[in-house]
């Protein structure tokens, strides 16, 4: 039997068993679990707060990812500029320092420093600072992802494009980057998911994301067990959903990959 098929059978049956256990547990504790869920999640206000938290999480994730893509692309292209004037050297070094600082320190520390030190006197929304921090952090990682994606395009592609008379930037834009993006897509998807999970620390600067909304709820009802387990399940399901979605897109993208 093929290994792939075997694996599918094993994983499906394990999923079945796990579901079976959950259903059994649920049936035996039907009343207790239901009561706990009703107690914690039935009020309209609670649902609204959780939803607001989810929206904030989505906002920070998507906005900082977009910012990260932009910064990452700029950083990666600056590195490729073929110019060794003093000015360019200085600019390239600034970007190098940016990447190593943001890759070399924990996200929480970056968030705290940006909020409490750099923007000490800032009175606007903590969400904005969160987006900026995560965007800067993500940009440092995305630049490396793009660099890998570009390096994975065979050198001959640029040469072929240049041989046709296209300029370096034209070749980059029409020939290299589309392929680089496709190469980088799995890692970019990964970065998005990492961001989504990491944004759960924005509570440190008082921004109310999904996880803080859950924590507030637990603090109010004192039923930490139920609330935290539901929180874990919600996060897991969302990540699972993203993974499936990205897999689907990836499949579409790789249809015309190099053979």
């Amino acid at each position: 039997m093929k290994a792939g098929l075997k694996n599918k059978i094993v994983s499906l049956s394990m999923l079945g068993i796990a579901l079976g256990i959950f259903v059994t547990l649920y049936l035996f504790n039907f009343k207790a679990i239901n009561d706990a869920l009703v107690l914690n999640f039935s009020s309209k206000k609670t649902v609204e707060q959780l939803f607001e938290g989810l929206l904030n999480t989505a906002l920070v994730t998507v906005a900082s990812f977009a910012l990260g893509l932009l910064l990452g692309m700029i950083t990666c292209l600056v590195e490729k500029i073929d110019n060794d004037s003093w000015w360019m050297m200085a600019i390239k070094n600034i970007f190098k320092i940016y990447v190593s600082v943001f890759r070399g320190t924990p996200m929480v520390i970056q968030l705290l420093i940006i909020y409490f030190v750099v923007f000490m006197d800032f009175t606007g929304s903590a969400l904005l600072i969160a987006i900026l921090s995560f965007g800067l952090n993500s940009g440092a990682y995305v630049s490396e992802i793009f660099r890998g994606g570009i390096n994975a395009v065979p050198k001959g592609q640029m040469e072929a494009s240049r041989s046709l008379g296209l300029s370096y930037s034209s070749s980059m834009f029409h020939v290299i980057l589309p392929q680089a993006f496709r190469n980088a897509f799995p890692s970019l998807a990964n970065e998005f998911i990492t961001l989504f999970k990491e944004t759960s620390i924005v509570g440190f600067i008082g921004a109310v994301d999904l996880s803080l909304a859950f924590r507030k709820l637990a603090n109010a009802t004192f039923d930490y067990n139920t609330v935290y387990i539901v929180m874990g399940i919600v996060y897991f399901l969302l990540v699972y959903l993203f993974t499936l979605l990205f897999k689907l897109i990836e499949k579409g993208l790789s249809k015309h990959a190099r053979t």
Binding site: A160, S161, R162, G165, L166, S170, H174, R182, H256, A257
Partner: protein, 241 residues
């Protein structure tokens, strides 16, 4: 048409070609041959400045190639690579019309019309909307040739165009090049196909030891070369090529 004047090429202080001067004339079919690693690719890549010489000049129709004019010059010098280098994310048609349309050599409608004519000429009109990934090596190389031709070049450079092909696909690609040669295109081709070189070429460049040995006596070169290294080289290769 294309002239190298005292060209020296080095990579990391290692000299690959030293003080080469030669001239490709209009209508020439030049076979570039020699041992592996001898600098054949370096020579042909210097001709369109994919490799920048350390010293010396490359002139195309009397004008020296430079950073400033290189893109314009390359529009007239087609190049075909061993690994085809079709753009995998674009269809055959888009592969072909990308450069001429972006460089405003022709409008899109004209480009598509001409692309169809060329595809028909290489026998692949039915693949116009295919992606490179679905083509065989021989088909890819024929498309790569058609792509270069769409720019309407005056000189075509080929760097081992059949070396990455399965044996049964070599002929279809050589046929296209043969056809091109018979139409009067100026061609430089790096090849290990000695039979083909002897058949189409009117000049041979034998590249070895940083030098290019040039001869117009093609038959003489293959039967009884007066260059000892060439004699040695030819006696060690498969005569059935």
């Amino acid at each position: 048409m294309l002239e190298l004047k005292n060209v020296t090429v080095s990579f990391n202080d290692q000299t690959i070609l030293e003080d080469i001067s030669l001239e490709v004339e209009k209508g020439d079919i030049i076979a570039i041959i020699g041992p592996s690693g001898g600098g054949k690719s370096t020579l042909i890549r210097t001709m369109n400045m994919l490799v920048t010489p350390k010293s010396g000049e490359v002139l195309f129709k009397g004008e020296a190639l430079s950073k400033q004019n290189i893109n314009k010059m390359r529009e007239n010098i087609g190049m075909v690579f061993q690994q085809f280098e079709l753009f995998p994310h674009l269809t055959v048609l888009k592969n072909m019309i990308l450069a001429p349309v972006k460089l405003k050599k022709m409008d899109k409608v004209t480009a598509i019309e001409k692309a169809k004519v060329l595809l028909d000429r290489v026998g692949l009109l039915d693949k116009i909307n295919a992606y490179p990934g679905s083509l065989s090596g021989g088909q890819k190389q024929r498309i790569a040739i058609a792509r270069a031709l769409l720019m309407n070049p005056e000189l075509m450079l080929f760097d081992e165009p059949t070396s990455a092909l399965d044996p049964e696909m070599v002929k279809e690609v050589l046929d296209v090049i043969r056809d091109l040669a018979s139409q009067g295109m100026t061609i430089c081709i790096v090849t290990h196909m000695m039979g083909f070189a002897r058949e189409v070429a009117n000049k041979v460049y034998f590249v070895h030891d940083k030098q290019v040995y040039e001869t117009s006596d093609v038959d003489g070169f293959f039967t009884n070369p007066d260059n000892d290294r060439a004699k040695d080289f030819l006696s060690h290769i498969n005569p059935n090529n």
